[in-house]
Amino acid sequence: MTQHPTAARAFWKGYLDCAPFILIVVPYSMLFGVVARDAGLDLVQTMTMTVVVIAGASQFTAVALLQDQAPVFIALLAALVVNLRMAMYSAALVPYVGHARFSTRALMAYLMVDQAFAVAVRTYEDHPDMPPAHRVAYYFGCMALICPFWYGCTFLGAVIGEAIPASLSLDFAVPVCFIALTAPLLRSAPHIFAAFIAASMALLFAWLPWSVGLIVAALSGLVAGAQAELFLRRRSARGAA
């Protein structure tokens, strides 16, 4: 316990441990502000979405699809699928902070963002002796740094976005952003296969109405990745036998 004498100390440790992610959060959230305004949302709409959802990738997804005149149902479904990964985060946090009060856990759920989650869980794994109350404090420390930047820089982006001329081709910032998010995820052959199948199917089925092609492509990618992984597992099991 000597490493974390007080909960306040744990809070500030979380705060500092997440500091490097400001470099990612600042441009990413500003970009959302700019793109949202570019898509025709007003300042109130942009900020409401950011505060209500706080999940960048799904916000970009929803805005891109709505701008593309996709039906509400498709935009919503695609954005929710993007966020499904957070069910895994939620499950991963239970052993560490599942003891907290219901309202505390609700607040933790609302504030759950990728980078801070990753930092928190790594710290919990590295310090198995961390007292439960300190784990909660540490978690809020992580989020206390990320969230104000997320809101503030979205606002900044939304305000200065007005002044950015069309010649800057900001429409292209959306695909570039998604590419930037995808590339580091391609960690194994099944991941690469999933991405390849999803992209190919999206081009092949782009003619389907109401952006149904996106859903078909995304589901094909999921299944392709999972099947590729199972195939490799079976093959290595045979190799071992």
Binding site: V53, L76, G98, A109, Y110, P175, T182, A199
Partner: protein, 109 residues
């Protein structure tokens, strides 16, 4: 332009849905774990949804009226290759930087 009613509907439902996903195990399901098949497929959510969104946007950009624009395809490749090696932020810089550089040197559509 985005229809106002559509926007609010998506934002409210997405907010609720996202919260339910985040709160699922932490708040409601407790220590129960996801079934194996779900974990297996969830791993591939990001690498499926993002490429599916991106591919048509790069291939047939709205800004060119859906015409294939080699500049955008090259810029997308640059973002991808840099992203594989150096991560998110450099990938964005590489993608937009390549786009601007090529647009500057080549009189585009």
């Amino acid at each position: 332009m985005i229809d106002t009613a559509d926007f609010w509907l998506v934002t409210v439902l997405l907010g609720i849905g996202t919260f339910v996903i985040r709160f699922s195990f932490l708040g409601i399901l407790g220590g129960r774990s996801l079934p194996d098949w779900a974990q297996l497929h969830l791993k591939y959510v990001g690498v499926s949804v993002f490429p599916a969104l991106v591919a048509p946007l790069v291939m047939w950009p709205e800004a060119t009226g859906g015409a294939i624009d080699p500049v955008r395809i090259i810029a997308a490749l640059a973002a991808f290759l840099i992203g594989l090696r150096f991560g998110v932020i450099w990938s964005i810089f590489a993608g937009m930087g390549t786009l601007y550089a090529l647009q500057f040197f080549l009189p585009g559509p």
